[in-house]
Amino acid sequence: MSIITKIKRKQIEQLLEKDTRLDGRGLLEHREMKLEQGLIERAEGSARVLLGKTEVVVGIKVEMGKPFSDTPNEGVLTVNAELVPFASPDYEPGPPDENSIELARVVDRGIRESKMIDTEKLVIEPGKNVFIVFVDVYVLNYDGNLIDASALAAVAALSNTKMSKYEIEEGEVKIRSGYEQLPLKKHPITVTCAKIGNKLIVDPWVEEERVADARISFAIDEDDNICAIQKGGRGYFEPSQVFEAAKIAKEKAKELRKKLNW
């Protein structure tokens, strides 16, 4: 840890003792959230999320292709994340590193494990032809908590996704005019808690993320079930903190769900 980070950490810890944060928020308070859907007309679905200064755009493309051999009766979901080089002075162009792969896989798990997309309805011909849903997360500005912002943008973009109608004529798939909504069943919401000292906070921004011991993210569905978890960071959680974080995530997810009307 550099000397500057050490001083920052001390300052943040002292503030947390007084139940406040560098940007004046309460410990369990999110930054201001803005959501815009359908901003990319070329994409079948899209959404932009602003979480404080963190900005993420998700675009959805739906294409026809082959299903996986072990799931012939299901469509395919693919999630990818790009940390665009201008999003942070620390980002560099190049193939996806472990951070962007982890981000993509955590977003993927929330969508997949909650069974958000009704993949059985994406089958055109079992074992041969299905719809593949490509979820591409583009991080445009990094100011902390990419997991929550990306998961939110991905779910919002999927809710906004239209796919072309088709019919099968003499064994050939023909696209018809008009669109229908991508069949969805659930809307998971992901909430991340960071641990600094012995305090838990939600929605860490970049200054907090840099000094945090560890983070833990929970994807929660509308029935309050947990669908995916990921712990990250170089530190640890006490078991009681794990359970506390789960409760915080459940409550915060409920609160966000009300706000978003999902």
Partner: protein, 252 residues
């Protein structure tokens, strides 16, 4: 390939491999299996067969990665192409890259990183045969390899998963249960410090089931930890015994 079994738990409450819900698979650990490495361990966890080895602290490559206040821990989790039913490409998959990251983060809290600034420690985990729960088995073996290498540690790291099959929370899922079950919760912890260093989950669990699964997995970690200690003793107590008898002979 394998058909999905209809029932994962029979009428007697036993699982497909005959285990009770809170029973671990048979575990075997051996320390010091790779003579070139600074530390190493082999683990057989059910049908999982995994080797972990440690090199370092040693020079950092590439140099610019070096840190002034602590060592750099590098971790590579890799599955052999023949470790699974259908051949896996030996190139690192996205899953392996993610697992390498979370495994590194599960081991780092146990190491006194600040003792070795401007150096690097390499941990390599090679899965020779996989049968579900390889990340937990890999972490368990890697912690043993680190201890074997003599790097000062706050505690060992032991790992174990719990999950949900047929509406029941069970310990230590094997491959078939993992694929057909409804949730998997791998946990790694430092048992003496009561600190969770890895926690992941996929599937669907209520909060009550989640708490039950984590508690069950932590109890599993403690059993795993006892076996880890035995494995270390087996190597070092025997070595110590041999040295002592040599000394006695010399004295005579």
């Amino acid at each position: 390939m394998n058909e999905k079994p209809e029932k994962l738990i029979d009428k007697k409450g036993l699982r497909l491999d005959g285990r009770k819900p809170d029973e671990l698979r048979p575990l075997k650990m051996e320390v010091g299996v790779i003579s070139n490495a600074n530390g190493s361990a082999y683990i057989e966890w059910g049908k999982n067969k995994i080797i972990a080895a440690v090199y370092g602290p040693r020079e950092v490559h590439p140099k610019h990665l070096a840190l002034q206040d602590r060592t750099v821990l590098k971790c590579r989790y890799h599955m052999a192409s023949f470790s699974v039913q259908e051949r896996k490409s030996p190139a690192p998959s996205r899953r392996e890259i993610e697992l390498s990251k979370v495994i590194r983060e599960s081991l780092e809290p146990a190491i006194f990183m600040e003792y070795y600034p401007r150096t690097m420690i390499d941990v390599t985990i090679e899965v020779l045969q996989a049968d579900g729960g390889t990340r937990c088995a890999g972490i368990t073996a890697a912690a043993l390899a680190l201890a074997d290498s003599g790097i000062p540690m706050r505690d060992l790291v032991a790992a174990c998963a719990a999950g949900k099959i047929d509406n029941t929370v069970v310990l230590d899922l094997f491959d078939t249960e993992d694929k057909a079950g409804s949730a998997d919760v791998p946990v790694a912890m430092m048992p003496n410090l009561n600190a969770v260093t890895l926690l992941q989950m996929d599937g669907i669990l209520t909060h009550e089931e989640f708490e039950k699964a984590v508690n069950m997995a932590m109890a599993g970690c403690k059993t795993v930890y006892a076996i880890q200690k035995e494995a270390l003793k087996t190597k070092y107590v025997t070595t110590k015994g041999e040295e002592e008898s040599k000394e006695e002979e010399a004295e005579e």
